[in-house]
Structure formats: structure tokens, C-alpha cells
């Protein structure tokens, strides 16, 4: 099927919107049901899958900037303008700076705007600060784990009954997951530290304990744990054989390692190469 053909079959112009592709497909499938005309359905289905792919390709442009809400009160706009550069600085330090820099900037902000004492701080400033922090914690590409922990604690976002949970339960779920992931990453570091100190057997034993631990029950947390562990091990020279063997056995990597490959293709290739060089064959 050529690149244009899928759009013709779906009867729409090329679009970056997956939603539009789905809508067009949904309309056509009602008259091309899979059980009625298998061949026509397969043509439609292939066009749908190709178009979703093509839409993905088209969707590279950056999102438009947020529209300014004209209805907001003057004082609100004023405070926001005052906080904005500081919040943006926090975002930058989370994405590119060190943990300590980000934490220091946060502390400085709390002092500068007198936000520490609930009794004396300006409620509107606090509210807009919270909005900004939520953006820093949820919408940018990277966060320092400690920064996130402090923020979640400070605003009580994951507490039962918090306004965030009522308005946006998905975000709260995401934050909870993020905190658990942070814990899992610490565990990865501990395992790798043990291996680095030359105590591979102890590292393997720790891995065995972790596999059954509550921390790694959640499928997403475990996914990240496995992926980071693999990346860590790929950087060792020589590769930790004993620990690798344990990881392969405990997580079933021989059976399925797609998540590792997808998470970091280069690291996975490097890791495989190093294992092969040492003659691993489990």
C-alpha cells in the first residue's frame, strides 16, 4: 500500500490527529464488518494501521502555546507573572541541573515569597505556586526524585480527599506511580553498587529478595526497574555475569526482553554483545 492509499481508503485528507483517523475508520467499519467481508475488512484494517502510523509521523510539530485566559482577574495575572520565571527555573533545573541545585532553588522560592507558614502566607500566591509546581512535577520531561517527593508531601497531592484527586484522579495515580518508581530506581542503584563493589552474590541475593517484594508488584514499576537494571549492567566492564544470570532467570528475559530493547536499544545491544563475549548461554 502506498503512502497515499491509506488516506484514500479511509476517505480523509492526511492528518496528524489519531482521533480523526479512528473516527473515519469507525464510520467505515460499520459497513465493512470483519465477519461479512474478510477481504474488504483486511484492506480497511491495513489502511487504518498505516494511517495511524502516518499520523504519528506528522505529529512532530510542537504543541501551540497555552492561550491566555482573558477572564482572569488582574491580581492573579500579576502574581503569575511574578512567579513564572522562578517556576520555569525550577523546571529547567529539574531537566538539566543537579538535584541539589533544584532543591536549593525551591527552598529559595519558599523564602522569597514567604510561603513556609500556612498562617501568614498569601493564599492566592500559594495557590498559583501550587499550579506551577504541579506543572513542574507532571508536565516536563524529567524530575529529580527528591524534588518530586518534597512537592508531593508539601501539597499533599496523593492524600485521600485532596482536591487534585477529585478533579484529576489520573494525575494522582501517575504521581503515586512516579514515587514508587523513584523507590525502585534507588533499589536498582543499591543492587548495582553491590555488584560494583565486587559482591555479585550479595547483589544477586538482593535481587531475589526484591523480585518478591511489594515494591515490584506493580507492572509499570517492575518494567522500569528491569530496564534500568539492564542499562546499569550494560555499562559494567566486564559485564557482571552472576548478576546477569540471576536477572535473566528471575525476570524471564530470555522469554521476553522487548521492554528492555525498547527502553534503551543501544544499551541492550551493548549488553548483549558483552554477554556474548563472555560466552553467556542461558
Amino acid at each position: 500500500m502506498s503512502k497515499q492509499e491509506c488516506w484514500q481508503i479511509l476517505g480523509i485528507a492526511p492528518t496528524p490527529e489519531g482521533r480523526d483517523v479512528k473516527r473515519a475508520y469507525a464510520k467505515l467499519i460499520k459497513t465493512t464488518r470483519p465477519e461479512d467481508d474478510p477481504e474488504a475488512f483486511q484492506r480497511l484494517r491495513n489502511a487504518f494501521e498505516d494511517a495511524l502510523w502516518a499520523a504519528d509521523e506528522l505529529r512532530r510539530a510542537p504543541p501551540p502555546p497555552e492561550a491566555i485566559d482573558a477572564t482572569r482577574a488582574g491580581r492573579e495575572v500579576e502574581i503569575e507573572a511574578m512567579l513564572r520565571p522562578h517556576v520555569e527555573r525550577l523546571a529547567e533545573l529539574n531537566e538539566q541541573g543537579t538535584r541539589d541545585e533544584a532543591m536549593a532553588a525551591l527552598e529559595a522560592m519558599l523564602d522569597q515569597f514567604a510561603l513556609r507558614d500556612p498562617a501568614t502566607r498569601d493564599p492566592l500566591v500559594w495557590q498559583l505556586f501550587e499550579d506551577g509546581m504541579l506543572w513542574v512535577c507532571c508536565d516536563i520531561s524529567a524530575n529529580h526524585d527528591d524534588f518530586l517527593r518534597v512537592a508531593v508531601e508539601m501539597f499533599g497531592w496523593t492524600q485521600p480527599g485532596h482536591w487534585l484527586g477529585e478533579r484529576d484522579p489520573k494525575t494522582v495515580e501517575w504521581l503515586r506511580l512516579r514515587l514508587r518508581e523513584a523507590e525502585a530506581l534507588e533499589a536498582v542503584d543499591q543492587v548495582l553498587d553491590l555488584a560494583e563493589q565486587g559482591d555479585e552474590r550479595e547483589a544477586s541475593a538482593m535481587l531475589r529478595r526484591l523480585v518478591d517484594d511489594d515494591l515490584l508488584v506493580n507492572v509499570d514499576v517492575r518494567h522500569l526497574f528491569e530496564a534500568e537494571l539492564m542499562v546499569g549492567m550494560s555499562e559494567f566492564e566486564p559485564v557482571p555475569m552472576h548478576l546477569s544470570e540471576s536477572a535473566f532467570a528471575l525476570f524471564g528475559w530470555k522469554r521476553d526482553h522487548r521492554h528492555l530493547e525498547e527502553y534503551h536499544p543501544d544499551a541492550w545491544r551493548e549488553y548483549q554483545m558483552r554477554l556474548a563475549r563472555l560466552g553467556a548461554n542461558w
Binding site: 467499519i29 464488518r33 470483519p34 474478510p38 507492572v219 522487548r258
Partner: protein, 569 residues
């Protein structure tokens, strides 16, 4: 009218699409769940359902259960002097459900949608279809169980777009499906499962625990040695399993050589024992998520199906695995049958469902065995060449070309497999075909193999010799797990000879079977009461006066309930 049937390992249900919604159909006892248990009574008449289940303990040689696990095999089950294949036993359950539906609808029923575990193989699906045929039902469609559950669930979704996961832990099988719903399209993104993991395994664990903890030093060894004792233990284990759902503990008790053996299990102990089973739930979940390229956090909802999801250990684990509480708004026992009814409505083109289309996937990879060159000129057989990759949307048709590897070979032997392993020895063999090819130097004859997998999950293979254009179709006959047309005719004739216990008399038979079972389980005074009451009721039955029998039946039921607590399903 097409009916929807959930043919389960432990219980079966039937439902119908009526007035724009699924409606559950009760059996002769007024229950929605019919135990998937078949037996012969003392007159050689077939008993199905609760009556048969009660007789598992008192008449283990004449009664059988859990036969769904053997579908697709040629295993014989002996009931008295007769023997049955798994599809015949299933057909008897289907017949009973068909009779219930006919009674409920007031018209003959000849067509059905039947659900199967998503991970059922080709042979298992064919066996299910044949079971329908043996029961006098044309199987209009086989639907994967989690897909059916999703249909029932998705019908009530008002969100324009959502993604959800169906966690289906039934009596004998475990299935995971990930679905996406948009604009009336219900799309299965991925399915994965384990055909040998279900509620029955939890029961077996408790039985093993009993034998290990209290039975062993009393000389109670092999559980197969005494079928009656095993069935009594089974019943106790079933009850304990239910009691362990949200309480602190339970007890199992059986009579053995004049002694009462008792084992107290705490919730914590149970949790520890089932750990290995719970661990097996993870792999299919991870695989389905990876196949669908989704993270758990991307899912909008977790839907539970299957009676085993009532267990608190299972619910707690699900909550932890996905970091959220599962949806609770549908009865997990009924959700698959309701979905089967929705499918029946779709099949019948009900106007209320005009705007709904469902697409499913083939949950496993299908391919052929090929030889690979291991050194120059040396080929080694045993490698798997995938033709249809798992989780392709069905219907799907794909082809691959293979070449000869030996000079002047005159025939090409094609073995077909299902599975995910690189080596065919680790995959499931489906069938084989040998086709003639023109003699040419190695590698010069090419054959195109086309696989077509239909909406019912049945596979067709077509081989084309490219040079001659000659086509061959595979008719899988080598598989002993699938009956041939001739055998089906024979089985139909054999089943027609069987006498089925009259449906309207089932409530009485069930009650008497229960009384017999209680008699066997009780001791002393209570035992005598049971005997007296049962004998009195039996005498009344002979008068055949329903006006007298009906109040007596209610009385006996109340009496038995008082002795052992309300009968559970």
C-alpha cells in the same frame, strides 16, 4: 433466536439478547449457574448440574467434572460402563442449557454463540464447536471469553474513547485482554493467557494442604486412591475457599475411618500457599501490555471476569499489579455469558447494536516448521517460521514462501504449529500435510504457504507450488483431539440413545442427591434425621401429586439448609 453460552470449567451459563439488553436464563432450579458436572443416576439417566455435583461425593464412579480441561484431547471418561469424550460431556451440559433456554423463550433453539478461553488452541476450538453440534446447536460464532466480558462491559461505557484490561480468571483458565473502545468500535489490542490456571487450582492446593497437614499421618495418602473421599475433600475445599474470601480463616473437615479429620487454615497461610499460583498471573499480563505497547497507567479501567476473581487474594493482587482498584459494577460470574448474549445480538443484527462493531485478535503465533542451514549444504529441521504473528486483527490472511532443501525431492512435508518458541518442539503441533513437488535441484522449487485465520479462531492453510500453480488445502485429520465427520455422526447416534433425566424432575433429584451426600458426611443423630426426611420425601414423590410434593420439597430444602447452611453455587 441465537443464545449466548458461557461453557465454563466449573459452571456454565446461558443468556439471550432481548429488548436491547442481555438477559440471563435460569435453569430448572431457578439458578443462573449450572455446575459443569455430568453424571448418570441410578437408572442410567443423565444428570447435569447441581444434582450431578451433589453426587460427585456419593457416586464418584458415575459422575465427572472439570472436563473442559481435556477439550481438544481424546481422553475417555468412564461413567459406569459407558465412556465419553470431553466434547460429549460438554454436549450434555450444552443440551441442558439449551433445554433451559427453550423453556424460558417458549420456542426451539438451534443456534448459539459459545465462549472459549482466548488461549484455546485450534483443536480445543474445534472440539467446542463439535460439542455444540452434538447438542443440536449450530455454533454461529466462537467468542473469546475476555472479549465477551469486554462486550458486556463496553456496552455501558459512555466515554468516547477508553482503554481497559479484562482480567478473566475462571474455573480452569486465565485470560488477559486489552481493549480499546472508540466511536462504537470495540477493538481487542492484545490477548494472552494460561490454559491451565484457574479457581480449580486454588481448590486443589487446599486439598493438597489438607492431605499434607492432617491426612498424611492418618494414612490418607494418594488422593486418587479414594474418589469419594477426594470429592468430599473437594467440597470442603470449595467451601473453605469461599469462606477465605474476606474472613480470618476457615476449616476443612471430613470423616475418615470413623474419625473426624479437621484442618484450620488462616488467611495468612492460604495467602502463602497460593503464592506460586499468583505469580503465574504476571507473565500473561506483561506480555499483553507489551504486545499492545501500553503501560498499566495508560489503562482507564480494570474489568474482572470469572468467579475466581471474587477471591480477596486475587483482588488485592490485581490492585497492586495495576496500582488501582478494579471495576466492581458487573457480576464476574455472569459477565462472560452476558457478553455472549451481546455477541448473539450482534450476530442477529439487532438494531440496538447497529453502531457497535467488535474486532478481535489471534492471540498466538501460527507458523510452519522449516529447516535452516547450519553449515554449508547442511540443513537442520525443527525451526519455527511464523506466518501469522500473534495479536494480528482477525480475520487475517498472510503468506510466506519456502524452498526445497534437497536435490530432486518429490514431496514437501509441511508441519503446522502454534506458539512463540523459536524451535517447533516447544510449540503446539496443529497438523500436517504432504504435497507433491516437481523434482528440481535444491532451492529451486518454491511453495507459497498462506494461512487464513477466521473470526471464530479457526485456521485454514493453503499451499501453492509456484511453478505449477497447483494448490493444496490442509484438512487437519492427524489430530486425535478432533473428531472426524464420521465419528461425529457415530457420537450423535450414541448420544441420542442416552436417556436424559426429565428437566421438571431435576429439583427433586437435586434435593435427594444433596440429602444422600449429607447423610454420608454426617454422623450420629443428624444423620438419622437426614435419612428419615429423605425417605419421607421419596415416598411422597411416588404419589406424583405436585400439590403435595411442592410444599414437601420446600420443607426438605429448609431442613437441609438448616443442617449445613444455605447451599452455595
Amino acid at each position: 433466536m441465537i443464545i449466548g453460552i458461557d461453557l465454563g470449567t466449573t459452571n456454565s451459563l446461558v443468556a439471550v439478547w432481548r429488548d436491547g439488553q442481555p438477559v440471563m436464563i435460569p435453569n430448572a432450579l431457578g439458578h443462573m449457574l449450572t455446575p459443569s458436572v455430568v453424571g448418570l443416576d441410578d437408572n442410567g439417566e443423565v444428570l447435569v448440574g447441581l444434582a450431578a455435583r451433589e453426587r460427585l461425593i456419593t457416586h464418584p464412579q458415575l459422575t465427572t467434572s472439570v472436563f473442559k480441561r481435556y477439550m481438544g484431547s481424546d481422553r475417555q471418561t468412564h461413567l459406569g460402563s459407558q465412556s465419553f469424550r470431553p466434547e460429549e460431556l460438554s454436549a450434555l451440559v450444552l443440551k441442558s442449557l439449551k433445554a433451559d433456554a427453550e423453556r424460558f423463550l417458549g420456542e426451539p433453539v438451534t443456534e448459539a454463540v459459545i465462549t472459549v478461553p482466548a488461549y484455546f488452541s485450534d483443536a480445543q476450538r474445534k472440539a467446542t464447536k463439535i460439542a455444540g453440534q452434538l447438542a443440536g446447536l449450530t455454533v454461529e460464532r466462537l467468542v473469546n471469553e475476555p472479549t465477551a466480558a469486554a462486550l458486556a462491559y463496553g456496552l455501558h461505557q459512555s466515554e468516547p474513547e477508553s482503554r481497559f484490561l479484562v482480567f478473566d480468571l475462571g474455573g480452569g483458565t486465565f485470560d488477559i485482554s486489552i481493549l480499546e473502545l472508540f466511536d462504537g468500535v470495540m477493538e481487542v489490542r492484545a490477548s494472552a493467557g494460561d490454559n491451565f490456571l484457574g479457581g480449580e487450582d486454588f481448590t486443589e492446593l487446599l486439598i493438597d494442604g489438607f492431605v499434607e497437614e492432617v491426612g498424611k499421618h492418618k494414612g490418607l495418602g494418594d488422593k486418587q486412591a479414594s474418589p469419594a473421599l477426594y470429592q468430599a475433600l473437594r467440597k470442603q475445599a470449595e467451601q473453605a475457599k469461599r469462606a477465605l474470601t474476606g474472613s480470618d480463616g476457615a476449616a476443612m473437615e471430613v470423616q475418615y475411618q470413623g474419625e473426624t479429620l479437621r484442618w484450620d487454615i488462616t488467611d495468612a497461610d492460604f495467602q502463602k500457599r497460593v503464592e506460586p499460583l499468583l505469580k503465574r498471573l504476571r507473565e500473561p499480563i506483561e506480555r499483553a501490555l507489551r504486545d499492545a505497547r501500553l503501560k498499566a497507567i495508560d489503562l482507564d479501567q480494570i474489568v474482572l471476569a470469572g468467579g475466581a476473581t471474587r477471591k480477596s487474594v486475587v483482588r488485592k493482587l490485581v490492585a497492586k499489579l495495576f496500582g488501582r482498584m478494579p471495576a466492581m459494577n458487573l457480576n464476574p460470574d455472569e459477565v462472560v455469558a452476558r457478553g455472549a448474549a451481546v455477541m448473539a445480538g450482534l450476530k442477529a443484527r439487532d438494531v440496538a447494536l447497529n453502531e457497535i462493531v467488535m474486532t478481535d485478535v489471534c492471540p498466538y503465533t501460527l507458523g510452519v516448521e522449516v529447516s535452516e542451514q547450519v553449515s554449508p549444504g547442511r540443513f537442520q529441521p525443527g525451526f519455527f517460521l511464523p506466518i501469522i504473528e500473534r495479536n494480528s486483527v482477525v480475520p487475517v490472511s498472510r503468506e510466506q514462501t519456502v524452498n526445497t532443501v534437497v536435490d530432486n525431492q518429490t514431496a514437501l512435508h509441511v508441519n503446522i504449529f502454534q506458539g512463540e518458541s523459536r524451535l517447533v518442539k516447544d510449540n503446539i503441533f496443529l497438523g500436517e500435510i504432504t504435497i507433491p513437488v516437481p523434482p528440481r535441484p535444491a532451492g529451486q522449487v518454491s511453495v507459497t504457504i498462506r494461512f487464513t485465520y477466521d473470526v471464530n479462531g479457526l485456521l485454514e492453510a493453503e499451499m501453492t507450488v509456484d511453478e505449477t500453480g497447483q494448490k493444496h488445502r490442509l484438512v487437519i485429520e492427524e489430530n486425535p483431539g478432533v473428531l472426524t465427520q464420521v465419528q461425529i455422526e457415530e457420537k450423535l447416534a450414541a448420544l441420542a440413545k442416552l436417556k436424559i433425566h426429565p428437566r421438571e424432575l431435576l429439583p427433586n433429584a437435586t434435593l435427594l442427591a444433596r440429602a444422600d451426600r449429607l447423610y454420608q458426611q454426617m454422623l450420629g443423630e443428624e444423620r438419622q434425621w437426614v435419612a428419615q426426611e429423605a425417605a419421607r420425601f421419596q415416598a411422597l414423590l411416588e404419589g406424583q401429586d405436585e400439590a403435595v410434593i411442592e410444599p414437601a420439597r420446600a420443607e426438605l430444602k429448609a431442613f437441609l439448609d438448616q443442617i449445613e447452611g444455605e447451599s452455595w453455587l
